[in-house]
Amino acid sequence: MRILVIAMVIATPLVAIFGLRNDFLVFIAGIALIHMLWASGLNLLYGFTGLIPLTYAGIAGISAYMTVHLVMRLGLSFWLALPIGSAAAALVGLLLSLPAIRLRGFYFALSGMVIQSAFTIAFVYFPAYTNGDTGIASVPRPTGFDGGAIPSPYMECVLALFVIAAVAGIGLTMRSRFGRTLITIREDEDLARALGINVTLNRTAAFIISSFIAGLGGGLYAHYIGFASPRAFDVLISLNLWLMVAMGGRGTLVGPLLGALLLAPLPYLLVQYTWVKDVIYGVAIVLVTLFLPQGIYGFVLKRKART
């Protein structure tokens, strides 16, 4: 049943791709898929471990710049550059977050905001590497078996495969001993400690896995839209990703997918009315916090449990 729901949510953008045959909508579907990947990765920390990582976009950005650099300057294949960039993102993200990983809830989130700002400043002030605020344009699409750029609808299918792999991986992780350990830490970290669980070590492991997924999304994003700039990986993006998880339903596999599907296309659909997007996001944050603390899917599950 759950797998059916997951399949339906992931299939929605693919239906749009093959059913509508509209280039712009196909592009939006691709964007939604990348955000599904990000939101699922962020959910591993926020939903399953109880940490709000507001550094998430910055970590994705490190991988994006690194992957772009490896491909455009050093001529590496995208498929080799992507795991390297993602590993680097996980490592840098980890090093910067190490002092923060012992902090709780609100304080972890706050420290994340500070670290995220440092990421953004670094992206702007190291122009030799990032081309500063101007950003790096003409980033090539990922290449296929024939060595040429993978054309759209197929590229979107590749993105969908990434989402499926990530969701399957996270689903399996959460059924494992490690996953159950993360849940106990989320529920009560003091009690977890008293029961012999090494809270810091397990959190750090979750952080590395989650950051790696952020990195995969970062590299894919830059090469998919053909552009990398500091604005694409700033604190607002971190907050948007958090909102997707919160609105869809944290701590579930379906929730982040649903949240990304609903929210990620908004900036593109409302491209002429950007302020409308900000208002919608703002209202969504308030509504979710007040009325749907468990998110849309969490609400559905609760209703189902009652009947």
Partner: protein, 240 residues
Amino acid sequence: MNDLLLEATDISKAFGGLKALSNVNVSQRRGELLGMIGPNGSGKSTFVNVISGTLKPDSGEILLDGANIARRPQHVVARAGIARTFQAVKIFDKLTVLENVLAGALGHSSMGTKEVDEAREALARVGLTADLEQRAGALGLYDRRRLEFASRLISRPKLLMLDEPVGGLNPEEIRAMIGLIQSLREECGIFIIEHTMKVITSLADRVVVLVNGKKLVDDSPQTVLRHREVIDIYLGTGDA
């Protein structure tokens, strides 16, 4: 082999200017059930917090089975074999009964597929017959206490420290709880903090009395309860 299970020497702990524990020495022999009493604020819970690694002592040594566990991280102390319960029951309210017991094994080396059987056994051990899939938060106090016990017992601790295990229970439940604790003596060393004297007199082999963070007496329950100062503290001096 040393016949001391726990040996706490010269334990001191201060919170700012308040000396919660001053040079306390407590030892517990293997197979012995040790009780600790004392008025509110005398440092009993602080003592359990220090021994179980929740708090680090300012000074002093703690040997469990001969190995030093003072100032080690809490999860290391738990893995070394000290399990504890809390004055206000601490379980994972949102998780199920079975998940709660299994959580007690997560920090310890994996038992593989036997784990669920072990969990059932731990529940049977404490006599809890609740539905395994029930949410723990929905249980009554006595069942919550027993679930707390089961989640600690699954890791087969060397020493189980109970902080007021009968607090809030009715007389019938208290009687049952005394029987349960008595039956656990064969499995591990037991250390109890209690206000209810009946629990102490019917279970403890030896009683330590803490007053203002200092050890006042350390003797058999019968001797301790005849001790002049203990009577004064619990019943008043008569000139108050």
